[in-house]
Symmetry: C2
Subunit: 462 residues, 2 copies
């Protein structure tokens, strides 16, 4: 199958140009002022699927942003791969930290990417990785090398919790039926050390509101005499971790799977330099739950982080105000066996219970999903491992990730099939951060590797 | 002196119209985008002083916003009153909580003000109260009833800490020389219960910045493994109060004057309804330092309040980010004998010392000032007490306030004279809050009372 290498060589510039066009579209699902851009992006994805040889391509309405579906069914006896991805992106702020505008993609060389990397919001998460699949598909259909059936389901609400995907999946169980689900929305250890994500964390995302007095007050006239919502919110947030940085919500750890010594030893074999990690982030020290190392803290352990906080006067200069309200966005990363809806309930009742008299507290659940683990002995994992071995010349390392793709657990429940997380990004891609980028090498390596997965999965399936 | 009543009756509408014009000017000193408006307001104040009969009126340049000075010297042997006030105002946000635009003044009746109240930012703090003095001056000069010398010093940076006033006062000691300083920038207990503020709290206002990783991070990939600046900031803020709501900064209480039982008993005689207080603020309970009641907590005790907090994603929807930085604006109200510069140093070194490894902390002192107590046996206090008795028909109650007018301590130090805080506002004026207003009755009562102060102070001074 040198065919794929040749095809990439011939079409490389076009593959980049097409991705750049897609990245110009600010499909920010979290901000309703970008609604038209999100909808236009769905149209563009539809056209690209048609161009890649998909049939029955359709922009499927949901209560929120649409899901783009397309398929190519060769023969009912052949296995079927369902590719999932998303065309929406995270908000780009803080804008002033971007070195180039987030929706004006440019290709620049970096130390990690001497071949160049595409800098733009969504470059790696997830437009670039979705596009690898579309271009791999184009190669297979145009060269008659597609060995099995394919279905594509590209949604527009992943960054805001895939609120309407569950209903769509339930209503389209037959249409979405498949033998394995393929998602590229994660990363690998490095360009030299291919890896496949075998576990992801669940998520519970909530927003809290603390209300004190019914109006903003002068801090001189009322200071010290009434509960200040910001002081109280800070106190409540602080109390959510104990002195060992364990989460204090009663029942939070009840279902957490404790890994065996052997499993932890196995994990510790992955290459990791604490010094390099700290230097890359410019921190003097890591910080986290006592008794676990950094790689464990961000993969097999649940966490609680404040993602945003605001209240009072945040403009230039000084204002001596006690605000009426203070707010925070808080997310918890969960591990397998923790049920996100249960955890959300535990958070809500605990947070309400710790509010002192003199304030009122509202907890609004945002979204969430459960964690997931891919069995290493599944056909899908084995096919993926062989595909990476073929193109990287190395057997990939199975690795647990700290991120969340809440819909993976949903897919297993509703579609009864396993998901393979074939990510080609790197930790240094700065997804969700300013200056997000995706290596040109990684993009092309993805396009090269994907057809091998199709080949081996079809062969193993026989 | 029925003259003043008659003068007010004849000129009431014009007094209101002129104040309304002044209130239309958004002289927000904290926000540099309003620079031209602040400067235009100084011009307007200058014209109004001239119209009131002041001489040598001058817009005095400083390194920041100018100070408007004017005087009327009758005779060097007569006593001299220095009137201080400010023409700048607090930022009006949150704008959406105003029932009418903050810089489009309207007069509306309220329960407390059946005669109407002027709703606008600055109506009570301090344009309305400054204007009482200017209109009282106009009355005295136009009727030849001015009994002594007067100097006006109206500044434009009170709401941002009067940063350039100290230099001005030091450079103009001779010009500002006086026998008493008169300030109307406080309130009284109620329209039925006149009171004079005899104590004000000091202030130390700081801004803190907590930096964790050098860029915003994905909370899935890094969550639980690095110090999250928002979680850390919350924890640090929470730790600034102990379980009795006492401030934990070492040395903070060292110089705090403890009032005697007798003094506390005297204070407790002021009319106060906890039920009405809580109902007005719509809170179930007050909250504060153990061992002190509400009136003590907000007057004779020092406090620490967060006036603003921000960090991470605060837009619509959800973003799973660990921000690089989190910020807070924190102010401490101080009581007599606490030195604000010393307290600022104590805060800074304590706050830096409690930062865990993995974050860096910056503390930026904003501004501050010391507290002040007016002696009840001073000539100024006695003159004020007689003036209120004349126009209210009741002896005013001396009262400690929780607010800060940092320049009062400065005046005593540099000009060697006592300050009388003759405020005509009410707690319900909502200063620094949305829907700030000033009662028409209070405005006119102020204009009526001030000339009596001039009369009695001149008489007592002989």
């Amino acid at each position: 199958m040198n065919a794929v290498k040749n095809y990439i060589q011939e079409n490389k510039q076009r593959f980049l140009d097409e991705l750049v066009e897609l990245l110009k579209m600010p499909s920010i699902s979290a901000d309703s002022s970008f609604k038209n851009d999100v909808l236009k992006t769905a149209e563009t994805v539809k056209l690209s699927l048609e161009k890649a040889g998909c049939e029955h391509v359709e922009i499927c309405k949901t209560k929120g942003y649409p899901i783009v579906y397309g398929e190519k069914i060769l023969n009912k006896n052949l296995p079927t791969i369902l590719v999932y991805g998303h065309y929406d992106v995270q908000p780009p702020d803080p804008l002033d930290l971007w070195n180039s505008p987030p929706f004006e993609p440019i290709i620049k060389k970096t130390e990690t990417h001497p071949e160049g990397a595409i800098f733009a919001r969504g470059a790696s998460d997830d437009k670039g990785q979705v596009f690898m699949h579309i271009k791999a598909m184009e190669f297979m259909t145009s060269t008659n090398l597609l060995p099995c059936n394919v279905k594509f389901m590209i949604e527009g609400e992943e960054e805001v919790g895939s609120k309407n995907l569950e209903a769509f999946v339930k209503e389209n169980r037959e249409r979405l039926k498949n033998d394995v689900i393929l998602i590229s929305d994660t990363g690998m250890i490095s360009k030299d050390t291919p890896s496949i994500t075998t576990g992801i964390r669940g998520l519970s995302y909530v927003e809290v509101e603390v209300t004190g007095p019914n109006r903003d007050l002068h801090s001189g006239l009322y200071g010290g005499a009434v509960a200040n919502p910001i002081n109280i919110l800070s106190k409540m947030i602080a109390s959510l971790h104990d002195e060992n940085n364990q989460i204090t919500i009663p029942g939070f750890y009840d279902n957490v799977e404790e890994l065996s010594k052997e499993e932890r030893t196995e994990m510790a074999k992955a290459p990791f330099s604490l010094k390099a990690y700290q230097e890359a982030l410019d921190i003097e020290s890591v910080y986290g739950e006592k008794g676990y190392n950094t790689n464990e803290r961000n993969s097999i352990r649940p966490t609680l982080d404040v993602n945003g906080i605001w209240g009072g006067y945040i403009g230039e200069g000084a204002k001596t105000v006690i605000p009426s309200k203070a707010f925070a966005k808080i997310s918890m990363r969960l591990v397998p066996n923790q049920d996100w809806e249960e955890i959300t309930k535990l958070f809500k009742s605990h947070f309400e219970s710790i509010a002192p008299k003199g304030v009122r507290v509202k907890v609004k659940p945002h979204h969430g999903g459960n964690g997931y683990v891919t069995p290493l002995n599944s056909l899908g994992y084995q096919a993926a491992s062989k595909a990476y071995s073929e193109t990287f010349g190395k057997v990939p390392i199975p690795q647990r990730s700290g991120g969340s793709i809440p819909i993976v657990a949903l897919f297993e429940k509703e579609l009864k099939s396993k998901t393979i997380l074939m990510g080609f990004g790197l930790d240094s891609d700065a997804i969700h951060s300013p200056n997000e980028h995706f290596g040109v090498w990684n993009y092309l390596k993805g396009i090269e590797t994907i057809p091998y997965f199709y080949k081996y999965f079809t062969e193993l399936h026989k």
